[in-house]
Assembly symmetry: D2
Homo-oligomer: 472 residues x 4
């Protein structure tokens, strides 16, 4: 059999369980039992021992037997009904229900539970990111815009930046979870006609039945006006939330790949691991690259979801069916694999302060030219004169560095030797040295991020303590 | 000049104003003034008369003059600074700011105000949809699944179904508006270094400055940890919310196009309009088709947004610039055009009860076969016998209808003539006739939708009362 | 294990074989053998019996054993080398090769063979479509634009229209196959350094080696300048060609779904199959809906492919790896499933001439109004007078039909009774009746399509004769 | 008026002309004139002086006048007919034509001419890329995989790699141009009914008419079986070809952005330009970033195109209309802007050999470890012993470099001092030095690329000589 590569290679057992054939069948059976219990409480003639019999066998899943039944009935839901009835020795499941009353609700339950798991993993990720941001809150690095040196920041601040992006997407995901509406028992075209028939037109009972079933599912809301299916824009919203949530990790992974190229940081190695045997110096950012790959995959699933949203004809059909079979589990496997990989990166990543310092030293004189100009002006020289002198020397220095005429940045010496600049080499060096430890509000900003994450981690302590499995 | 086709042909003046060159320049100037006022309050030496001078000329926008300055400076923000200074006769704007301190915040303001306008238009749409759903709450139609007749529902329920999809997306959009975070004054790489220099390192003053500026912008939140730019996943989230919101209208437009094919409903005509002169009978669903077109456009903008999210290198760069210049205004123009069109459809659409009744009559005997079987069993025949007889006659009837052997659905007569079915033709006809007015919980469901929309319309009365402009 | 749902439920064995773990390992081994043979011919010391030993065991694939080796080596290619060496009792494979010299070429072989299979299936599809177009070449139907009646055409012409769309995409796919370039043996960064070392810098031998290996692969071209990887825009081009090819079938499937709603045609049933047991009249277009679903899936894969194209950093990395593991097999499984489904539709579909005739009769008087006007003018009335009269009656008729005031289209009677129109009811009825069999050039156009397909089928007779497997 | 930002800021005049309102109107009038000439030749009564009158006024485009007419007629094509007739003083245009007979063909002409311009710009780009590849064919750089040092290559080879990717996409685009089929004169639903009426059913004349009109358009092929519209998968194919073509430039732009971060190369400056005034050292890769931005935009247009392909209902409608109004011109403006930008990069880019050498020196000892091991084995030491010693020293060296314990790569000294390695420091240094100039087949591969481009440039000399306009 050809396996689902996302499930088998990357996703965690929790997600695999939800989306496996066996896991789904158990969810369906639990759903049927919840319906039967509610129907019985509301007056339908379903014996208690029948329900007990269904409950006692609900975990006996024999997919081969079900498949054999399907070959006879040519109808998948009917085959699963017969199998469950056969196991229990009763015929009480699926009363007044159409196939979609079962499948829509159970698929939404799969989505809802998956969303919660991913929400929890984003908490685990934020907790780790917060620790890393604190660890390096004061490690000054050369911030880059357009991928070239710009101003000092700290490595912790850089991480907090990607972390805060995730925090924002996390809140949006939580909004989705808090509002997530389930279809409920609505019948073939959404009018509840069959449940109404079953309860002789008693609308209050039908409403109470649905209320109880939704309570079983544990979802916070229920649709009132639907057709055969719930609106597929809800699936779109879910996949969009996952894509959104993957963005912070993806940007951070790209930035780590860039830093690895400069040897200022790396995603690290597992304990005992070294580079490739042929090239032991090589620390390839394979996991970061994989994170970026997962994001591309999610964007593909988003395109699938957007192909379904807004394309409902009348009360619905199954043109979405094959798409959702692929897109829903695979999007969750992909984001799950992304988090498993990203958590491992966060556990193993490393910074190289010596190389960072070398880079700072190389660029700092350039980064401090605006401060040097201000001090020169204070010391009496005209603004235009100072600007002209500094620009001349800065351009000459960068050109000489690129041409190999000088090997270290000697802008300070050049400026000290220029009469137009009324500052000594000690004063100039002092300005540059002060720059090395001045990253503005970076440390305080990191602290703000850490506090926000702490609040979240306190609200979800188990999620925050999650340990990823080992990755390929 | 080649115009922006979405702006010129489809978008409303409110959106055009926000995204026009002139509108943007005024927003920038108001932003600079807000910064100066706060800086002055916090101790910077900015004379009150200077601020007054800026305020008095802020609406004098001369794009040609600015463009001339840009040709000299080769820097767009610098040109706009010089123009504003020139008009005011002062040089106090942009203190301690980098270009992105201006442009990011102003672009977010454009997005935020556009989101609010679209939020309001969705309220206007829901209000109309609710009225239409009430109007046709009891008009029984033949619900279709797989585009073929399935069970009765009502036209009002069908509309409420698409309306409730929109209502759900509306709530998600409102969540986005309620949380929308602005970048604030963060400097070249996000560390606020330059504002800190300006205030001699006084972090409290810098924080207070930002707080006041954000208050001016009227946005509910502010980022703490950003780089040169705010995370582009926020743009993604905004465009995804628009795409989501367009889904209900898009599905309803497709369904109206289908109904027009059956002549059960149409998007209607403007007063005085008829079909094409060559074919006056033709009522083309041009506006519904356009709604679907706008949705496709939005999905394209979503693909652009998804190409930016998760692609930040270090503290940022301008690889997103050209994309955002296209995607942000155009996505808002597209959704705005969609709502202008859809509002017009809602105002002009029509249903054709006589044709609907003809369709119901044609299909109803088929739709009531399950009820007929139940009654036959009550009357004493075995379940299997009844099922077999009904199936035989139903298949024969549908085949004869398709083959043209009969011209009306005579299933009732066939069943009445079969000894296996112990029901008279009066009884059978009665069952079918009862079906015509039984759409289950449809009317009550519509009422639920109406009440939800009423609450929303009460909260946003001006939005609910919006009248669309005339469309092409 | 969680299966790949596209492979297991929808794809044919031919595609499954290419993309299975076992199938891939055999392809790799055959590739290694081809390299060894060429290396030996060019002077490397590889004994003939070693090659014979490898050949004799190449089909013994034990994935469990390979996985066990991978757990030790932590390197997938190394594990597969050791396994093959172990089976053969020699150590000659992979000389002068890097992992990508193996994997890129073998993955391209999988793509290339899959492209050929899909090319062949499109021939099979075109052959069937051509037969159906001929069968119904003269069956006049009411063509629809904007989903409403427009002018007569024939059902065969409608099918030929979708067929010609496919034919155009087929030619583009063939262009891709004809040009498809393989990466070849290029070494770690594309400079062939390691093969050059192996042959002591003999560039001619290295070139000859690559030529022979490419000949083994059977691909028409080879890249010269590549890095570690071949350009991912080639994958994009392949997936785009598949998406393109799916468009004709997808449009036809949508149109069949529309026709099923009018009961003028249907995708049919398998022999012995009827509608759902609860609603035997219902002929759901499940297979057509599935075809549309596959197209949505392909567009998602296209989004994945477009996320890789143009994103190569330097000589390449593995950020594409997880994406290609999902996208490449799944895109081929999806298009394969689409064709298996669509071929079945073509075999089982049906048209309902009696219903079609009813529809023609209903609309034809409207469709012939321009002809009626021309004849009225010839008979002496002024053009404007005739136009005014016809428009009045046409609008009145369509309104009365929709309002249920008349049950059949009596435009002809109305016009006959109007003094302004100097034509008798016989003349008017004659014009309308002539319209029923006048579909312009439709029949000749169909013939043109049939001839083009015939040429293709003659060039690929085996492909044209392909029979699809049975579908779910 | 809000301008089209892609047209105004980035696209070249040639593209603007094709897609402007005025340009389109002239194309339409030329089309009508071509139809009239052919109709006259085939016997219709159209006076020669009428055609002459139309020809003499075809360039007098008054969009305001046309818009005024449209307000009266409420039909855009009718307004343009009346305007042209009014100018010429005749009424002979548009005989037997429907609106789509005009608009589809003219829009295809816009697409086709745009495709040719882009094809030509890709030739211009390849010619420049070829010169740059030759210029740096022997400049050895450190190739990177996973963004870290891997093996030597040359800068010319790296450029040729991206060039060959473009060459492959160029050939695919040429295939599209060579096959591009136009819709032709097919009437309202594709059956040519109206032209057949016009020529009294003479199919040969109608065929000849179409043949002449297509010859006027200059397109290589014509559809036979279409509906109201030509298949939108052809638009998809066109936009996909543009996206494909942008991939090589996009990957090269990303790689230049990476190299700028290492100061080994840059996109350069316009003559006289320096870095930002605040930071004169900063050479921002703004143009490369913009190239990547254009690619993202194209992927968005591709998503729009894919939303239209496979979504034709019956003989077609206008759900594609608003999408095509945006997507078609904008995709061409985007690719045109991309090429204008990329050509400028190619003209201004620079490499920094001194920095490149520094990088080579830093990494080369690592890159040559496999050669060192081979030589050590030749000198008598066991393979395992040599491997162990080299690995120990390589890992220690990289760690010491990262930790700042050493400032230059002293692996050679370390190995020379290890008794296990029987090579002198002179021998070891010699191996490393030889590596510096050994980039395998790189130079020969570049030559292969250059020859292919030369052939192309000879075939399209004017295209190859194209000079880009100045960019913002």
């Amino acid at each position: 059999m050809i396996p689902n590569v996302l499930a088998e290679r990357y996703a965690s057992p929790a997600l695999q369980d939800i989306w496996s054939a066996e896991g789904r069948i158990v969810l369906e059976r639990e759903f049927w039992i919840a319906v039967m219990k509610a129907q019985r409480d509301l007056g339908l003639d379903i014996p208690a021992e029948a329900i007990a019999a269904y409950e006692s066998c609900k975990d006996q899943v024999d997919t081969a037997s079900i498949m054999e039944r399907e070959r006879v009935t040519r109808h998948d839901v009917k085959a699963r009904i017969e199998e469950f009835n056969g196991l229990a020795g009763h015929e009480h499941v699926h009363k007044g229900m159409t196939s979609r009353d079962l499948t829509e609700n159970v698929e939404q339950l799969q989505v809802f539970r998956s969303l919660q798991i991913i929400r929890d993993k984003s908490v685990a990720t934020l907790a780790r990111l917060s620790r890393r941001a604190q660890q390096w809150a004061d490690l000054v690095i050369t911030a880059r815009t357009h991928n070239v040196a710009a101003q000092p920041t700290t490595f912790g601040k850089r991480l907090a930046m990607f972390g805060e992006e995730m925090l924002s997407a996390h809140a949006a995901l939580q909004d989705l979870v808090d509002r997530y509406p389930v279809r409920g028992l609505k019948g073939a075209v959404g009018t509840q006609m069959d449940q109404l028939s079953l309860f002789d037109g008693d609308a209050a009972k039908v409403a109470e039945l649905e209320k109880r079933v939704v309570a079983h599912l544990g979802m916070p809301a229920v649709w009132t006006n639907v057709g055969q299916v719930y609106p597929r824009s809800l699936d779109f919203r879910s996949v969009a939330a996952l894509t959104d949530l993957a963005s912070g990790p993806s940007s951070m992974a790209k930035t780590l790949r860039l830093m690895a190229g400069h040897e200022t940081a790396s995603e690290g190695f597992a304990p005992g691991q070294t580079g490739s045997s042929a090239m032991p110096h090589k620390m390839n950012s394979r996991s970061c690259e994989r994170v970026n790959g997962f994001h591309v995959i999610l964007k593909g699933h988003l395109a699938m979801a957007s192909g379904l949203a807004g394309d409902q004809w009348n009360e619905g059909d199954v043109s979405c069916s094959v798409v959702r079979r692929v897109m829903l589990p695979d999007a969750f496997f992909a984001i799950d694999g992304l988090f498993e990989t990203f958590l491992t990166i966060l556990d193993q990543m490393d910074a190289y302060p010596a190389v960072i310092r070398r880079e700072n030293t190389h660029y700092l004189p350039f980064l401090m030219t605006t401060t040097i100009m201000m001090e020169a002006v204070k010391a009496g020289v005209g603004r235009e004169t100072a600007h002209k002198a500094i620009k001349e020397h800065a351009v000459a220095t960068v050109n000489d560095l690129r041409a190999g005429k000088v090997s270290t940045n000697n802008l300070v010496e050049r400026l000290a030797g220029d009469e137009r600049i009324p500052l000594t080499i000690e004063e100039l060096s002092g300005i540059v040295a002060a720059g090395e430890s001045n990253a503005g509000a970076a440390a305080a900003q990191v602290q703000g991020f850490v506090e926000n994450v702490n609040r979240l981690a306190e609200a979800y302590p188990a999620a925050a303590a999650y340990q990823p499995g080992s990755i390929l």
